[in-house]
Symmetry: C2
Subunit: 544 residues, 2 copies
């Protein structure tokens, strides 16, 4: 028997309608090249309606993919809502990817229209040159007519500016309603372990995810908050924060392209930011600035940190500054937040600390398990396994690729970790980075953390090097701090007593710099390409 | 184009599975006649699985309605999850209703099985006698075999006790998955304005509602909270709190039938309650106890108050005690929470105060409007209209009755109020209680609030009395405090300067006590039946 409740499909446009109607006072503050721009959610809704009409005029039809190459600012928010809201698919593209990768994505997604910041004019020029003719038909630069960059694009690609495009439209537009499982967004993974793969979100997954994010024990936005999402809108919907902010009527403070420590700190202070979110490196930058200047936070209360493991020292440093770091974990394929490390009452201090530093517990709406082969591993906080996810905002696979879930419907995350009895996940590695030495699993992250505890080390990467006897053995590749020095033996001695004998790296390789991908993560693929045969080529184990 | 995200129907059983798997430490504490009972969500899930099997053995099939007459305790939580989770419909019945009304509901709902507290044995006996033979086939008393009450039920009605029923089962049970629009619960309205009407919730509406309730700016439960729901589980799913608590892993502290001020206060203190919820009268009782004893709250932080308007004095009294009251509004037909009064930044102090005392702003997932005739009224905080709702947890109508929404899909709440520019609802009346005097709308609530501001008045009700010239005119019916006295003229003089001249009541009627319904609300229907002709019968306006 069906119930009698109203049925409304879960629509992304409902966030915007809700914010404009019921949270009219909240604003979006954007740091642009020319200074600070402010508008309310009412303005945002009006401009998004104009944009939705403009998209229709540009020939964008339901299901069409539309690309963005943009920073966090009000126009990108308008694009999120207008593209998805009108039934098309917003394909956010990471401008830090190599032009080849960007072209690969635009071609794979078949984006006919591209919205790009004027800063990216020459990038757009390069990328457009690599695309098959006829694919891209319109580039819209996110500026007004006066700032339109003068570039040459291939024949058949029209150029216009965003403000003229929407100025030509009235704001009379009714958001269409359709099946909530309709595709709303397409985001490609970071490409840390291979070619970027496209994840195709739905209206339903996006709405459920944003509702889950607003739970008090997750990110928990309030109308009284002023949120600075440093996590880019060009990657995994900025952790759903633009949607969650619209639902709560939270004001957004958008840093644009000004992402250095000083700029972020100054914006936090000037705009009374209460809550921020981003990857650890960003907060290291802000911390360095504060340490240099002796600054303090007057309004910032909490920070959601994820994307890669948050170092213990960062928690402590921000605690001292009166700002609580909340650790979260996820991936493009899980929209991305799957777990958040919020506290459990009644545990002892050591457990509380371990749980806080962990990647967290699942939000309601997500389930997880860890397996080693066919068997699930016990939730003892000690036995590592391959972590798999299931839930309303987890993908079944990738765009234009075969299905990616297990027989029984779980998504293999590619991350390896332990689960403690309270359900907290402690990531130890990516499965591709795991070092499998004679049947033992050695965590590359553990090895790296120990290496960076040496004062001379700026950054370290542990990889599996091929080994004739053990199959794989760990080697650690380190970049020293400018002016610092350390020997192979000094570094290896740091491991004594910290890991089992068989987990101590076989060698240390010194390099000037480690390679990073477009979201700032270590590119171990490159390191493996260079050093996988290191122990075979140098069976004596001598340092390079 | 459909997206690629996983599809899982939104199922009520997922709350329980989630809590047991990912929030195992949280507990349900129940105050029973014999003392305090404690169990974790893991225990609760196990017992609910046993119960689900037992339901099958009792012949309960998907879609069947199963009634409960129960207090807030762990068994009632198990019933919520086992009945809905197995695909049947939990029909919570208010034990404070008259036996005739209870029999009406059981017959209307066609409940074949009834779970009832042992305290209600004689009530069950009375009610069973009023039912058509063959309808009710099983009564399960919520106790163990030793406490099974010895009563005589009509032939064909089996009796057993809950603990024996579930003890007979293993806990091997896989919660079925089915269409999320399937009926999950059936709750009848309070019957304040007429016969109770049945609202048929769905799994989808229940899950979405509970997710919305956990938003930081709504009720916002956390794992670190210990919640005492005083709001009864026999009415509108205790404001979704059992579900929301399972999602967050919040511990529940269940007061059972011990609802007097002293019992509640002692339980709050003994069990370190951080958050509580209930109607204003309950908190008046706790306040009276505290004032008498000079008690303090050591852990209580906040209280969600709704069900009827929360008096201004209650906000202030609890503020002084360090407990924040959050006001909420809704009805059986909206599952029930539609609005919550959480603060908006950047408003002046007077506005902030008004908004805090108001019924609040809609949660994301609900939309509202106010109309006078065909026209929407402006959101100026001054113009009252009939309030209508739309949203994921709002009903289309009533069980076995014609559709209840407007042509364009809105549910008329029967409440009248203003909406301010920030979207806050200020209720002024129920439309059936509104006094329409010569085309003007006079709020009965305003008239009552002014009457109770007189120190001699314990409670007041304003109703529309028929009037030959003005159609309707207000009269106020008052019950004085024990030992207090006041004259008609004294009371009418209180209105001077507080309302427009035409809004001053035409008469004051003194009574010993005002009539209340099963959820503690004033029964103006009864007062109108007695006093609607008061001004016609006594055209000279003399006091009774
Ligand atoms: N809090 C965290 N701690 C540790 N690792 C994290 C955390 N958050 C995210 N990660 C890592 O980031 C990954 C998700 O990143 P993303 O989806 O952007 O692409 P990627 O996995 O780096 O790239 P690709 O899948 O293309 O190789 C996770 O699978 C995990 O390895
Ligand atoms: N915060 C509040 N302030 C004022 N009134 C409230 C508040 N919360 C609830 N109410 C009143 O309670 C009503 C909902 O109550 P409920 O659904 O239990 O049944 P009822 O409306 O009293 O009974 P019936 O519909 O059978 O006449 C609302 O429509 C409103 O009139
Ligand atoms: Mg990945
Ligand atoms: Mg009602």
């Amino acid at each position: 028997m069906l119930g009698l409740m109203q049925h409304h499909d879960l629509m992304i446009s409902d966030f915007l309608v809700h914010a404009a109607r019921h949270r009219p006072r909240a604003e979006i503050v954007s740091r642009l090249a020319g200074g600070i721009h402010r508008q309310t959610w009412v303005d945002t809704a009006r401009r998004a309606r104009q944009l939705a009409r403009a998209l229709g005029r540009l020939g964008v039809r339901p299901g069409d993919r539309v690309a963005t190459l943009a920073w966090n600012n009000h126009r990108h928010v308008e694009l999120y809502f207008a593209i998805s809201g009108s039934g098309a698919v917003v394909n956010t593209v990471n401008p830090r990817l190599a032009p080849d990768d960007i072209a690969y994505i635009l071609e794979h997604a078949e984006d006919g229209v591209l919205f790009a910041e004027a800063d990216f004019a020459s990038l757009v020029e390069q990328v457009a040159g690599k695309l098959p003719p006829g694919l891209l038909r319109q580039v819209v630069f996110l500026c007004d007519a006066a700032d339109l960059p003068g570039i040459a694009l291939p024949a058949g690609v029209a150029i216009t500016d965003y403000e003229s495009l929407i100025d030509a439209e009235t704001d009379e537009y009714d958001w269409p309603r359709f099946d909530e499982r309709t595709a709303s967004g397409l985001c490609y993974t970071s490409g840390t372990t291979g070619r970027p793969k496209g994840v195709l979100y739905t209206h339903r997954s996006t709405v459920l995810k944003a509702m889950a994010v607003n739970a008090a024990d997750a990110i928990g936005l309030k109308a009284a908050d002023r949120l600075m999402p440093v996590v880019p809108m060009f990657h995994v919907n900025a952790w759903s924060l633009p949607y969650a902010a619209a639902a709560a009527g939270t004001s957004l403070v958008m840093p644009g392209r000004f992402l250095d420590g000083q700029s972020l700190y100054e914006l936090i202070e000037a705009e009374h930011v209460t809550c921020a979110s981003g990857v650890p490196t960003v907060w290291l930058g802000v911390l360095a600035h504060i340490r240099k200047t002796g600054g303090r936070f007057s309004t910032l209360e909490r920070m959601i940190v994820g994307g890669s493991a948050c170092p213990e020292a960062l928690f402590d440093a921000y605690d001292e500054l009166g700002v609580t770091i909340v650790h979260a974990w996820g991936m493009t394929e899980s929209s991305p937040i799957a777990t958040v490390a919020t506290p459990v009452p009644g545990v002892d201090a050591a457990t509380a600390r371990r749980q806080r530093l962990s990647q967290g517990r699942v939000l309601f709406g997500i389930d997880l398990r860890a397996r080693r082969g066919a068997e699930e591993v016990p939730w003892d906080g000690e036995t590592a396994g391959d972590i798999e996810l299931r839930g309303h905002w987890v993908t079944t696979g990738y765009y234009r690729m075969p299905k990616g879930t297990t027989e029984d419907g779980w998504f293999p995350t590619g991350d390896v970790g332990m689960i403690d009895p309270d359900g907290f996940v402690i990531l130890t590695d990516r499965s591709k980075d795991l070092i499998k030495s004679g049947g033992e699993w050695i965590s590359s992250i553990d090895i790296e953390n120990i290496a960076v505890s040496h004062p001379a080390v700026a950054e370290a990467a542990a990889i599996a090097a091929k080994h004739p006897k053990w199959d794989e053995r760990p080697v650690v590749i380190v970049a020293l701090k400018p002016g610092a020095s350390a020997t192979r033996e000094e570094l290896l001695s740091v491991y004594e007593g910290k890991v089992a004998r068989w987990a101590v790296p076989d060698d240390v390789i010194f390099v000037d710099e480690l390679p990073h991908g477009a979201t700032g993560k270590l590119l171990k693929t490159e390191l493996r390409a260079r050093f996988a045969n290191h122990l075979i080529e140098k069976p004596d184990g001598a340092a390079t």
